[in-house]
């Protein structure tokens, strides 16, 4: 009993905080390297639909994005409220999709061209007309691998 009491009374050695900056720096560098600043500002509304039977698009180097949705308020007055396509941060017409995809493919290294995936980020309010047009364009340039990009969630939420 006495022994234990004495042990408790003896002062704990102070933990050295000298390595704290190093640890923090390591964390810092980790986050600095994984951070991707969002560089495309959306010109269109883009609430993706939900789905749960989805596959992840892990490898970013082979993805070509096509964004579709109604123009945001700021532009709606100028170009109308009809759904529009956004490529490379600019509004585009349907017939520009093919050449855009080909140009993007040409930028990619050769071994990625055959596995490139077109990620269709389409707002859930859009009607299928414009989507069918885009698919037709993609078929014409033989870019057949597509991905309907969605949020993870219950697909029945889309029905409302």
């Amino acid at each position: 009993m006495i022994n234990i009491n004495r042990k408790n009374k003896s002062k704990l050695p102070q933990i050295s905080t000298a390595s704290l900056p190093d640890i923090v720096f390591i964390l810092l560098f980790f986050f600095m390297t994984v951070t991707v600043m969002k560089n495309t500002n959306l010109l269109v509304e883009n609430t993706l639909p939900n789905a749960n039977e989805i596959e992840k698009l892990d490898k970013k180097d082979r993805i070509i994005e096509i964004i579709v949705g109604q123009p945001i308020k700021q532009y709606a007055g100028v170009i109308g409220a009809e759904p529009k396509i956004q490529l490379n941060g600019k509004f585009a017409q349907v017939d520009e999709v093919g050449s855009y995809v080909l140009a993007k493919l040409a930028e990619k290294p050769e071994h990625l061209r055959s596995v490139a995936i077109i990620s269709l980020k389409i707002d859930k309010q859009v009607s299928m007309g414009i989507v069918s047009d885009i698919k037709e364009e993609l078929r014409q340039v033989r870019a057949l691998k597509i991905n309907y990009t969605t949020f993870e969630g219950d697909a029945f939420n889309n029905l409302q």
Partner: protein
């Protein structure tokens, strides 16, 4: 004299604070997000397959987002069940192309075997995209459920788990090849034949 020449030491005590500040900034701005979605293969051209009507499962969406399946108006909630019943039917008689692992009704008027069964999805220009994705999701879900069942039977593991194991594993090549083979086997039992193009049966 000698004391004067010595450079004063820079106080590094605030280094940790500065680093913390930066760390918190990057923590807040970081989004380790990967997109996800439904992968699809667009039809490559005008190749018209030789399909019998009974091997076609027609799903159409009209511009009021109503769902017509095999000439019957149904709710999207019931679609998966119907698709599974169709794919799993195995209606062909014993012999060539007989589906031994199918557990369906074996109705001669429905699909012959999963290899021949095709889901055909058509839509109008007015169909809502969200609803379209929900329907696609249900059809893919039907395939996944059947594949899960077969993978469980053959390898005692869910197909979806098999896929995640394959995608995330840092296994040796030999182990990875085994996984790939298993995935291929299950896939071939229920090959995903989901067509977005209009198919006309002959």
């Amino acid at each position: 004299m000698s004391k004067n020449r010595e450079l004063p030491e820079v106080n590094a005590g605030s280094m940790a604070d500065i680093a913390f500040l930066l760390l918190i900034f990057f923590l807040v701005t970081t989004t380790i997000e990967t997109d996800a979605g439904l992968n699809r293969m667009l039809p490559s051209g005008s190749d018209r397959a030789d399909v019998k009507e009974k091997n076609l499962f027609r799903v159409s969406l009209n511009s009021n987002d109503e769902l017509l399946v095999e000439d019957e108006l149904i709710e999207i909630q019931d679609l998966r069940e119907k698709a599974i019943a169709f794919l799993d039917n195995g209606g062909i008689a014993e012999g060539d192309g007989y589906c031994s692992y199918c557990k369906g009704e074996r109705d001669a008027k429905s699909s012959d075997n999963p290899q021949k069964a095709i889901l055909s999805l058509s839509n109008t220009r007015g169909t809502n995209y969200g609803v379209y994705v929900a329907v696609q999701n249900e059809l893919v879900g039907a395939y996944n459920e059947l594949r899960d069942r077969e993978a469980l039977r053959l390898y005692n593991i869910l197909y979806t788990d098999l896929l995640t194991a394959y995608n995330t594993s840092e296994l040796l090549n030999a182990d990875k090849r085994v996984l790939k083979e298993q995935i291929e086997t299950v896939r071939n039992l229920f090959p995903q034949k989901l067509s977005e193009a209009e198919i006309t049966a002959n």
